[in-house]
Symmetry: D3
Subunit: 242 residues, 6 copies
């Protein structure tokens, strides 16, 4: 099967990291296609960029010409998964939800450790709407901007592992979710520092997407995610995208 793994920002190196993580988790026979949005910001750290990413991810998937079996939206706490579910017949998996859903099988409560403090409310909102907040002990920020993860990996590892340790000790989290698509690769260090299972959202999403496809399950079209009704559009999509 072929799974599209769509980054939410336009930084190609981050798309590459995400793609490698997805590929490392994928079953034999699964082809991972990493995609970078056709437009948008080089990092998504707030609502404006996240709303832009939402529509960019949708248009990027719509512009993809080959057949595919599932889509993973690889941004943590971003808007837009519901729109993808309307547009597509194949399963759509958001990494925020995949990580939380997986964490819940591993311990009584989980925490998310993300990048900047301003990302915390977005993640909290997504978890609340997804019905996955009850067992969330906390969403914590390491204080590192997204792109810093690539610029200074050693400092990133340290900051994130320390924040994860606080989640375990102070908030009584029993599992930690790495709250950014680009944090793949930090898992080991955080496990070592905290002694609890650490969930990477991209890996979790790959297994869930594969499982849904394998069971022949896809998005319910009966109501919320029915296909969009026919519309007239003004100035959309932009000429450059078509």
């Amino acid at each position: 099967m072929r799974i599209l793994v769509v980054n939410v920002n336009t930084t190609e190196s981050m798309t590459k990291t995400i793609g490698e993580q997805a590929t490392a988790t994928a079953s034999p026979g699964t082809e991972i296609v990493p995609l970078t949005p056709l437009f948008g910001a080089d990092s998504v750290e707030g609502n404006y960029e996240s709303h832009l990413a939402a529509i960019a991810v949708m248009e990027t998937v719509r512009a993809y010409a080959e057949p595919f079996d599932a889509v993973i939206q690889a941004g943590y706490g971003e808007h837009g998964r519901e729109g993808l579910q309307e547009l597509l017949d194949v399963p759509v998996v958001d990494i925020t939800e995949a990580a939380a859903s997986t964490a819940q099988f591993l311990g009584r409560s989980y925490s998310v450790v993300t990048t900047l403090d301003r990302a915390v409310p977005l993640i909290e909102d997504r978890l609340a709407l997804a019905g996955l907040a009850d067992r969330c002990a906390s969403v914590r920020a390491s204080g590192l901007p997204v792109l810093e993860l690539e610029r200074d990996p050693a400092a990133a590892v340290k900051a994130i592992a320390e924040e994860a340790a606080r989640a375990v000790e102070q908030d009584r989290a029993e599992v930690v979710c790495l709250g950014c698509g680009g944090m793949s690769g930090l898992t080991e260090a955080v496990v070592e520092r905290t002694g609890v299972p650490v969930v990477d959202g991209v890996a979790a999403a790959v297994t869930i997407a594969e499982s849904l496809v394998r069971m022949g399950l896809t998005t319910s079209k009966i109501r919320t995610y029915a296909p969009p009704r026919p519309k007239h559009f003004r100035a959309w999509p932009p000429a450059a995208l078509t």
Copy 2:
């Protein structure tokens, strides 16, 4: 003061209706500027169009050249208010929240009557995130598409008033909110049919926006709605918008 009232769809006649309703409510000295998004769908009835509207409303407001004192997002249950709050220093009021917030001063519980069934989950989500769902008795759909409100107003009035009556009788709503920016003008008929107060979101939002400006209050910039950080954008905004 000047208040921008931004429609979420590209149907100019609906922008006009919304603008008239806002003007009818505005205080002397308030100038209402109705805006139609620079791009997007002619009606917003689902997540794809709503996500597109979110970013379209933001870009439309950013492209507005004159000074203004507040912005009203005049779509019911649509995405994007958080992004506007990041981008702007002036107050932002969403009509979904304005209507609910006003209804709560009038009765113990309120219902929303909207257009299509598929809009119900979007409205429920917005109310939940806004912390305004506890006293919401129900969100009900009349079954009418958005543009039908203009095409056959008499049938619209009847369908909406009947649904509102069911909300009052079956769900024990004590107040009814008209769940669509384009429903201004139906108020009287629904009051007559149900005997309960009926809140129009556009009118409610105008009074709230004016009040915030008058009290010198605007969006807190300390965390969630801090201005976006500097970014590099790919292919955005589209040339046609600049």
Copy 3:
């Protein structure tokens, strides 16, 4: 229009302060009538006095001989708003709810800073019943009794501003509500100390009451707030009040 602004305690100087704040916020053409309860305690700092204030406010409004367009109950976290809504045909606005409702348009979460620790549970209960607790980050007490606000304003300002800063820093509040009818006038100092918007309940209530009147909206009489049924009363109201 004429709005009655009813203090909950019998300290006339506090009624005066509240009335001045209301007048400063009112639109041209709005007459503010400050009222002191005909009976009750000189400060309300607990359930006994609050229950007494509830009925005192109701009887005081009933004894007011002139016509009026709205009533504001100017006590923070006090009982009784529901009774006023039964008795009156005009809108009733409680300042606890007005402040919270306004704060929710300004930031993702708000805190209330009140006087004594024992007032905290009353405020929490009112917010819970009003469906306004979800986005409440905390209700904090400065430790100052109500009348101390007048006796030593400088100390009051300092204590309240410090507590507000703790709400912002520790509880992540993005907006602060001043949790006492007599705190009008402290707004500026708290803004300066915290850097977040500060909402005064009396001012917020005046704008909401005016808005409801302007939109022709008033309390739903269909169920919870239907007028009291005819009764026989024993020894009530007391001769001195009639």
Copy 4:
């Protein structure tokens, strides 16, 4: 021990009924003292009368000259229990809470069947504040005014038993609470009609008050229910009460 059982309305025959029910349940050695409020309405069916009853019950208990060991507030869904807890050193038990608390030991969910529809929101609010709403399947109204219970007992029995049956069948209640102080005596008929345990609040409250006294437990005075602080009162209490 001596337990004061305070009616919330001024109808002496109802006080008598309540007193008889309490006496029938009391242990040997417990003296039940039924009290009628010194002022107030002959039936309490809404917020105005309930707020008046709250303060009337408090003043009536304060005016009681003999020592006593506990107080029962025998009104369903009425305001004021918190004030009594501040004023007194002995345990205070509200029948609304006593019934719900007892019902929770008997089945997974319970319903309350009360008098008029307008009493429903008051009861719901009391249960919510008491943290006893999670297992409440419904609060239902029989449509009978309070005083009708005495005027036409046969019709009352029938109406209440039918409503109780609906709670069991439609709302899946496993226990029924009789939602009015004056419904003592209907228990048997409702058991017969529904086949589920039926809890009378007055009886439940007597056993709880006795138990607290027996265990030497009384209201915590550390914070919420600390004694009122010293105050100056205007025109209170009325001369006629002193």
Copy 5:
């Protein structure tokens, strides 16, 4: 009446302590029968032992040959009360729920102080399912294993009283529940240290069981706790138990 008070572990000295506490609280005429499970662990400190205790308590009660009027399950936060309710026609009272239910009549919020940290989640889950968690300020662990309560009572008293004080000061608990069947006897020391009412679950359960019997109330059999349907059992009960 005769009440079975069933310990959840097989330590006879602890059964004796529990029995003495129950007897000290029981009314004249109530016979307390302390029972030790026929099988199971000498202390219950986790889910495996708790699930084993659940079935052991049920089989032990079923094997009891004499008539009885009520059963108390004297383990804090343990599984199994629902099964007893199915099997028996007489009332069943769990001490976790009895303590919480009683505490709610004494203060606005309560905390539980238990033994080991790993018991905390079990207690939290039981309170959540029982609908008694809303007013629970915290469940805290003293860090002492169950059997240590008997081995070094002086150290136990000190550790538990200190933790209780933290609950009152940091979590704002107004009442403390002793979170272990074997903590009877510590009440006085904790009251002295904290100044708040302290509830012993065994004592509370005895009064509630007696009250239910006195009022002629028992478990609703209409649905959740209907008697088990006829079954074929494999290898159960073990020969040694029959």
Copy 6:
């Protein structure tokens, strides 16, 4: 890898059905080992049998002599998963939670259709404790006892499909979970009748268990699910089991 799939009742034919469903879903290279509890009831339809099954499943897994990589508890709404997590180092997946967790990726809300009405509360409780109840539209009973599924499959299919249709139409479920380990095989008929995705818990659990193993994730041992502490046991395990 080897996954133990443990039935909760002692009906071997049902263990066989469950095992076949698991095998049909398993990846190449996964060995499914179906297990029947060493003791217990031939069907589990209530709390007594469910508590017995909890401990029986644990002892059966402990008695299994070969190595294994994960365990699936294949009972819907049964007790005991937490105990398995304590006892084992490998992942444990409950089918109730697996089904709900999977359903949440497919639609905005899901319903469970189970056997007898008395199973509904057990399932609701498990979902609540698992933090998976927010998006649960309803748990509905078809009225069929567990063993009837095998005795009259045609009637079972019809009853379950009809109840599923009611969940979709009346409760607005967008996905249906088959609420019994033995319902595997009914999927197709329910999809056909309702038009929504239908999730089988056994299949879902197999994919989740495989995924956890593949990602190297297992139960957090830091607190709630730490291994049992050393204990002395009385009369356990029964001689016949050892």
